[in-house]
């Protein structure tokens, strides 16, 4: 790690801006509904039923959360495995997003689990269930979350060595020295675990062949999830860097983001061909025109989430313009991945005995939005304390 010297600094800006106050309000509303759910049960806050056991909290908070936190492992691979030093500047913000992203996946999961206090059960060897796809996802996410926190230790050390009481100082120095030698293990482990659980997340719904809409149901789901996660990691970095530079006034590193967008175009192109190839081989194009809400959601995902951002990223003008690049990245993040996970987890899910399609309740929206707000507040606090972002530009 020490070979990649990053000049990052804590943000020195007023904390309680209007934006932060709004975030706190959203967080408060969400936690109100959340508390109500813990006291009165899932049925009082959600629209889940016996036909639709998995809803918005699994589709958005968990499945999309995991996908959108992929920036952590893609940038880690780019910077520390492929030694692309010039991207080092986006490494720390991406890592922080991943760390917080996965933390909130775990927190979000607690809201959804009926017996949330048993969430640690999959860690008990006596309850390991090697046939379960969900078990693999769970165990990989647990270990990866630990790895992400270990990878954050050097940043803590950088901030507090020389600025803390002697005993803390010596512990930090000790940890930093050891981690410097073995960090490569954790970096590779993080990439490996990510590849495993990002793909297995796609395998989750393969278990429902008779319930899933054929536009999405394919044995290729694990591969599609993995490729789309790798592809979304870097757009998330662009999305995040643009927002951070807007709110904190730090420099937008276009000389980093433009070459980054070329890599995105390649991976997104691969994803596009996999999707097209999959539909062609399964002869499923016909379902596009059936006019159901499923086919409409698929068209929305495919055009706005894959075709449009891909075409945009292939243009030099887009890659070099901060706002066009931000637009292309955001389109893929929102329509290509977020909508895809929502589609796979509950739009495509159409069980035989359903009486009406599942539409998330207000309480479900409130909790999800509240958790996202909490994540952003944590991000804001951490970039204020720790050296994560590049130096603020003097105007």
């Amino acid at each position: 790690m020490s070979s990649h010297n990053v000049s990052a600094y804590p943000v020195e800006k007023k904390f309680f801006t209007t934006g932060v106050k709004i975030l706190f309000a959203l967080f408060g509303i969400g936690m109100g509904f959340g508390l109500y759910r813990f006291i009165n049960g899932l049925g009082t806050v959600t629209n889940l039923n016996n036909q639709y056991p998995l809803g918005m909290w699994i589709g958005v908070d968990v499945a999309s959360g995991v996908a959108l936190a992929a920036g952590g492992f893609t940038t880690a691979a780019l910077i520390h495995i492929f030694y692309r030093d010039k991207y080092a500047v986006v490494g720390r913000p991406a890592h922080l997003t991943a760390m917080l992203g996965y933390t909130f996946v775990a927190i979000g999961l607690l809201f959804d689990l009926g017996r949330w206090y048993n969430v640690w059960h999959p860690a008990l060897p006596s309850m390991w269930q090697g046939n379960s796809v969900l078990f693999e996802v769970g165990i990989c996410v647990m270990i990866y979350l630990t790895v992400l926190y270990i990878e954050f230790v050097p940043i803590v050390a950088e901030r507090f060595i020389g600025h803390s009481p002697k005993w803390i100082d010596s512990i930090l120095r000790f940890l930093d020295r050891i981690l410097d030698k073995i960090m490569w293990i954790f970096i590779i482990l993080g990439v490996l675990l990510s590849c495993l659980h990002q793909s297995s997340l796609g395998n989750l719904m393969v278990i429902a062949p008779y319930k899933m809409h054929p536009l999405w149901y394919t044995p290729l789901l694990p591969l599609l999830f993995l490729v789309s996660a790798i592809a979304v990691g870097l757009p998330m970095v662009i999305f995040e860097c643009t927002l951070a530079s807007k709110s904190f006034g730090c420099r937008l590193e276009m000389e980093v983001l433009t070459p980054l967008s070329r890599i995105i175009a390649v991976i997104l192109g691969l994803y596009f061909f996999l999707k097209v190839g999959d539909l062609t081989i399964r002869e499923s194009w016909g379902y596009l025109f059936e006019g159901t809400y499923q086919s409409n959601f698929f068209i929305l995902e495919f055009i706005l989430g894959i075709v449009v951002p891909l075409v945009m990223l292939l243009m030099k003008k887009v890659r070099e313009s901060p706002w066009l690049l931000f637009t292309a990245a955001t389109m893929y993040v929102v329509f290509g991945v977020l909508l895809n996970r929502v589609n796979v987890f509950f739009i495509a899910y159409r069980p035989k005995y359903m009486t009406e399609p599942y539409i998330p309740a207000i309480g479900e929206f409130a909790v999800t939005i509240g958790l996202i707000a909490a994540l952003m507040i944590c991000y804001r606090i951490i970039v204020t304390i720790f050296p994560i972002l590049p130096k603020v530009e003097k105007s």
């Binding site: 049960g41 016996n50 269930q129 090697g130 046939n131 078990f135 062949p209 899933m212 399964r282």
Partner: protein, 305 residues
């Protein structure tokens, strides 16, 4: 949705991405997992059932599901619309038209099928759902359960129901096959014991298949030549004899391939003796080393990069 299945087979055959598909097809009835000849089952004769709903009442009593009195179970107006089992009723009976005799109706009792190779058992993250090795009942242990409800998403028959209104100790609820009763020698499930017309026959699954074949052979006009559950999804403990196809009576038409055989081969291939993950780790390590050397060589040559 046979389309999906057909497409899947075509797909795997065309690309060969999942090398196990051939094996899966051959072993479709049991998907390679051991099936005990001693496993118990129930044969439901939908042409004999008179729709008295006594089984619903017995189930309610044995499993202490609600305070409902027997008179509430005598109400025939419930047949006006199709009902599904839920967290307060492990079994329900639905009524269907009989094309052979408009005076008589067919009745289909619905409950957990206790699959030979059950999707819920394969899905469960902590092994709270298990296939009991002696009886073949799909058994639920609420103390292990974390309440993720993935079993409900996995079940092709949409049987497991959830106690969404219970805040602290919600459970997945479904027919237990009266596990505590059948696990003792000579015990019968509540529904089988009460059935006044012997529409339900309890016994070893292998014997029930023989019995079903004899019944079909004896009265070929009464039954269609198909035992629903003999091969469906790898076979189920509960099986049905009927006068018209079961998919015309709200049961889904399924292929013979068990649900876990869609996901488990992929899962096991990824973790085969941990070889693939360790190989990927080593591969990434080598790339890291190569690029590091390259990086250092560049730094020496060019000074500042």
């Amino acid at each position: 949705m046979e389309l999906t299945r057909r497409n899947f087979l075509k797909f795997t055959a065309a690309t060969g991405t999942i090398g196990v598909s051939g094996a899966v097809r051959k072993a479709s009835a049991h998907s390679g997992k051991p099936v005990s000849p001693d496993w118990l089952g129930v044969l439901v004769d939908t042409t004999v059932c008179i729709g008295c709903r006594k089984c619903e009442w017995a189930c309610n009593n044995v499993n202490k599901l609600s305070e409902k009195s027997i008179t509430e179970f005598e109400d025939k107006s419930v047949f006006e619309k199709m009902r599904r089992p839920d967290e307060k009723s492990y079994t329900v009976v639905n009524q269907y038209e009989n094309p052979n005799d408009p005076q008589l109706q067919y009745y289909v009792k619905v409950q957990c099928m206790h699959c030979n190779d059950a999707a819920c058992v394969s899905a469960c993250i902590v092994g709270a759902l298990t296939k009991h090795p002696e009886t073949g009942a799909v058994h639920y242990d609420p103390w292990k359960c974390i309440g993720c409800r993935y079993c409900m998403a996995a079940c092709p028959f949409q049987i497991p129901a959830y106690e969404y209104q219970n805040a602290l100790t919600p459970q997945v609820r479904k027919c237990t096959f009266c596990f505590d009763r059948i696990n003792e020698h000579g015990g019968l499930p509540g529904c089988v014991e009460i059935c006044p017309v012997e529409a339900l026959t309890f016994g070893k699954r292998t014997n029930l298949i023989k019995l079903a074949r004899e019944k079909i052979a004896k009265e070929p006009d009464r039954y269609i030549d198909h035992i629903y559950g003999e091969h469906e999804l790898g076979g189920t403990s509960w099986m049905y004899l009927s006068g018209k196809p079961m998919h015309e009576m709200d049961m889904e038409r399924f292929g013979e391939r068990s649900i876990p055989s869609y996901t488990e081969p992929v899962q096991h291939a990824i973790f085969k003796n941990f070889v693939p993950p360790i190989s990927l780790f080593a591969f990434l390590g080598i790339i890291m080393k190569l690029f590091k050397n390259h990086d250092e060589a560049n730094a020496e040559k060019g000074g500042t990069q």
